[in-house]
Each structure stands twice: as C-alpha cells, then as structure tokens.
C-alpha cells in the first residue's frame, strides 16, 4: 500500500504517490513549468538535473529544480507557466 502525498500546484490540489518528483506532480496537474527569456513555454527536458528547464518556486523559494525533489505533504508549488 503506497502512501499518497497531497500538495498544491498553482493553488490546484494534486495527489500523487510518495516518491513522485515535483516535476511529475506538475505534469499531473497539467501545468507548465516556466517561461523562457523570450516568453516561450518550457517544460522538463533532461529529467536529471542538468538542463534547469524545470525550475519552479517551492514554498516561497524560487529557482528550484522540480525533477530533483520528491514531493512533500503540503508543498506549495508555484510555476511561471
């Protein structure tokens, strides 16, 4: 029986299996990740912490790589999409 974790992405409630990354949770919520300098919508590319495309704000701290962090109960994720 796998534990479920509740968090919010841009205010939207999301529930995922424990161990899921923040990036995957954002995808579950069907949200974008960030806007590039020229305003392009961007999403995860490398999945392994090298490309920095998946940066979002987590619990008030900006520029966090979502693919490198597992979700935590009550996490507030805000994206720039």
């Amino acid at each position: 029986m796998t534990a479920l974790v509740q968090l919010t992405v841009n205010g939207q409630a999301v529930e995922v299996v424990a161990g899921t990354s923040v990036a995957a949770a954002i995808a579950h919520a069907d949200q974008a990740f960030r806007r590039s300098l020229s305003g392009e919508r961007r999403s995860a590319l490398c999945g392994m912490g090298v490309c920095f495309e998946c940066r979002v704000t987590i619990d008030g701290v900006a520029q966090q790589q979502a693919c490198m962090l597992p979700v935590r109960t009550g996490m507030r994720v805000v994206t720039d999409g």
Binding site: G19, A27, C46, G47, C67
Partner: protein, 428 residues
C-alpha cells in the same frame, strides 16, 4: 564543520555503489554522495511504480547497508578546497574531507538542437525514462522515440511499461550498420538476451532505421514531429518526442580538480590508469566519467577503484580482464552508432542553441572563440553553465567552453560563504 572520510565517492549510480561497497568491505570509512534523493544514478533510478531490478537492489544494499558507509543524498559538490570538497544538501553547506576521492559522476544525455526542440513535450530519450520513473504521467500518451543506439529500445520499453502508446522508434543508423552491429553482438551474450527481450517488449512498435526527426511542431506544446526516412518525409502527431543522440561524460568536477582529460571525438572523458587512478594522486574515476561504457564496466571499475583505494590487490587482475571485455562492448556500440553528419546540422539559424539565455544559433556567427561568443551573446551564462549548449556545440564542431570555475552547479550564496572551520572571519 568538516566531515572526514577515508574514501569519498561522488555519484551513487552503479559505479559509485560498487566503489563504496568495495572500499567499505575492506574497512574504509566511506562517504557516498549523490544529488538525487535515492541511490541508483540514471540506469538504476528508482521507479515510483516498479521499483528497481533485483541486481540494483543488491548493489544498493551492499553499499548503503554497510555500516562503514555514510549515505549523503541530495548533496551536490559545489567547489574544491584545500583537502576537501564544498558541497550543499537541501538545507546546508557540507565540508567533505577525504583521504581518497572516487569520481563516479556518470554521464548526461547529448541533446542536439533542431527546430522545435524547446517545445514542452520534447525530452531526451534518457530524459523521458528518468521522468517516467519519477512518476511523470505517460499513460495513454502518444510517444515517438528517436535518436541512436540501444537507448532508444530501452526508452521505448520504459515508456510502454508506464502505459504510453509508443508510435514509432526512429533510429538514425542505417540498416547495414544495424546488421553489422547485431552480427558482432555474439561476444556479449547477455546483451543479445537483453536486445531480444527489449524487442519482444516492443512487439508491434514500428522500428525505422536511417530515420531522423528533423523538426518538432506545436504552439504551447508538442503537436507533431517531422521525420526524414530513406523513402521520404512524414509527419507523426504525438504528445512526447524522446530524442537521444548519445551520452556525454560529466567531467566538470574532474576538470576542476585538475585531472587530465582526453577527447575521443567531440567530448572529453577522464584519463585513468589500470587501477582507475587519475592524474591527480589521490583521485580515482570510474564508469561513464572515464568514457561512456555502460553499466557492466561501471560496476567493474567501481570495484577496482574501491579495492585500489584501500590498497587491496586480491581479485584485481580478474576485474581488469572483465573490464577490458565490458569496455569492448562500448567500443562496438560507438563504432556502429556514430552520428550521421547531417544530425549535427539539423539546427537552423533561428533555432535556439542556448536554452537558458534564448540565444539563436545565428547569433554565434562571426566570433573567433568561445569566450568572445559568450561575452557577446550570453550563450552558456545561464544556470546549466554551458552543459547543454556546450555539449551540443562541441558535437557540432563549434566552440568548446573550457575552464571550470566554482560553483560547479548553481549553489546557495550561504553555502559559498560557509567555512570549513566555522571560525568567525572578518566580515569587512
């Protein structure tokens, strides 16, 4: 406050796990560092749905359950200081001192630019696998896999296992090359079995050789891809394009430590001797960091370094023989899946080369060297620190970004301000 280890291993993929368990088994106090929350690296990344293969579990246990091993997850090395490394975890700075250092920093995917590569939905091949394993929802999604080598099969199989509809696999190598590759595989029976198993898992999925995805199209996200096949062009509507053209060793930490590097083709790897020792006396390197070689060489080399670091010679010769055989497979792979030249030329002048700073390829024209181009265009000045664009440009035969200043990764200012000794230093 500094922590001291006899052997410090950076990277907890197969190579790092093998090194840590070998060193710990021979009495060393080992620190095992990885940026991820769990051990396994990329090939043994913990799958939220499916866990890890039994082999991975055994190797992880051998390292992590040994009381001599201290596991340091979510920890990234940021800089090198006298006798140690400055690192940071999710909360604070760590100062890691070591007697011997083993670099098992692995490889990252080679991501080559092409029109539309920045669209949401375009990922690396290894990238899609990594995302799938960390819980990315792929069930029912239409996935196209493209690029080169056995990684395509592994990616496609992984996507399918997570419920995706894999529409096709586009392999850039031509049919003749594929046949020659398959014929040479008999020397590595385990690989034959693996290949057959993967093909079975992918029954019904079209596999096209001599085929290249030349562009991705969409507005807010990927809608379709354009494919150039031997007999003409087609378009395939899809949700994800997993495009992987190979792997690039992660040599940044080695470079910062002054280890000698060598290039085979466009990308550098760390030079090591028969005992995995680098040109810096107490620093070893193992696995993909020394050149892309696959999981088997990684395990063997990790063991060699772990033994060498503790001064153990027993079993070394046998490991070295096995390493030769494992590395030979990597060579066989490399020879057959070398990229066709036109793949390096998929990017158009307007295609972005630097995704961090939105620099188009044409902006790099007319500069004599990498530094000049960087200063004028900001290419390589973003958070990826040139990892993505730099590897692409090297593969494309253009500049290479050379030096390695700290921080090795974006790092909190608080980490950079912390001190090994915690003695108050003058603030003004």
């Amino acid at each position: 406050m500094a922590e001291r280890y006899d052997v410090l291993v950076i990277g907890a993929g197969p190579a790092g796990l093998a090194a840590a368990s070998a060193a710990a088994a021979h009495g060393a106090r080992v620190g095992l560092v990885d940026a991820q929350p769990r051990a396994g690296g990329q090939v043994w990344r913990h799958d939220v749905q499916h866990g890890v293969p039994a082999l991975a579990r055994r190797h992880a246990a051998a390292a992590l359950e040994n009381s001599n091993v201290t596991w340091l997850p979510q920890t990234r090395v940021v800089a090198a200081e006298a006798g140690g490394l400055l690192a940071e975890d999710a909360q604070r700075a760590r100062h890691l001192e070591y007697g011997t250092l083993i670099l098992a920093t692995g490889a990252r995917e080679l991501l080559l630019p092409f029109p539309g590569w920045t669209l949401p939905g375009v990922t690396g091949a290894g990238g899609l696998q990594a995302l799938a394993k960390q819980g990315w929802p792929l069930a029912g999604k239409r996935v196209v896999v493209a690029g080169s080598g056995p990684l395509l099969l592994a990616t496609a199989a992984s996507a399918r296992r997570h419920g995706a509809r894999v529409l096709a696999m586009f392999e850039q190598a031509d049919r003749g090359t594929m046949i020659r590759f398959a014929r040479g595989l008999w020397r590595w029976p385990a690989r034959v079995v693996q290949a057959a198993s993967l093909r079975a898992q992918l029954a019904g999925v079209p596999y096209r050789w001599g085929s290249v995805v030349t562009a991705a199209h969409g507005d807010d996200g990927l809608r379709e891809v354009e494919v150039e096949e031997p007999h003409g062009r087609t378009r395939v509507a899809c949700d994800y394009l997993a495009a992987g053209y190979g792997l690039v060793p992660n040599v940044e930490l080695a470079r910062m430590l002054g280890c000698r590097l060598e290039s085979e083709g466009a990308h550098a790897h760390v030079c090591v001797d028969a005992n995995q020792r680098t040109s810096v006396s107490n620093v070893y390197a193992v696995g993909e960091t020394c050149g892309v070689g696959g999981r088997d060489s990684a395990l063997i080399e990790g063991a060699i370094a772990g033994l060498a670091a503790t001064g153990t010679t027993a079993g070394m010769a046998r490991l070295q023989r096995r390493r030769r055989h494992a590395r030979a497979f990597a060579t066989h792979l490399r020879e057959h899946f070398a990229l066709a030249p036109h793949i390096r030329a998929l990017a158009q002048p307007e295609t972005l080369i630097c995704r961090c700073e939105d620099v188009p390829l044409r902006a790099l024209d007319g500069f004599a060297d990498a530094r000049e181009a960087k200063l004028a265009t900001r290419c390589g000045m973003g958070p990826c620190q040139g990892r993505i664009c730099g590897a692409a440009l090297a593969e494309m035969g253009r500049f290479s970004f050379g030096s390695q200043r700290p921080p090795l990764f974006p790092a909190r200012l608080e980490t950079l301000a912390s001190s090994m000794t915690e003695v108050a230093e003058p603030a003004t």
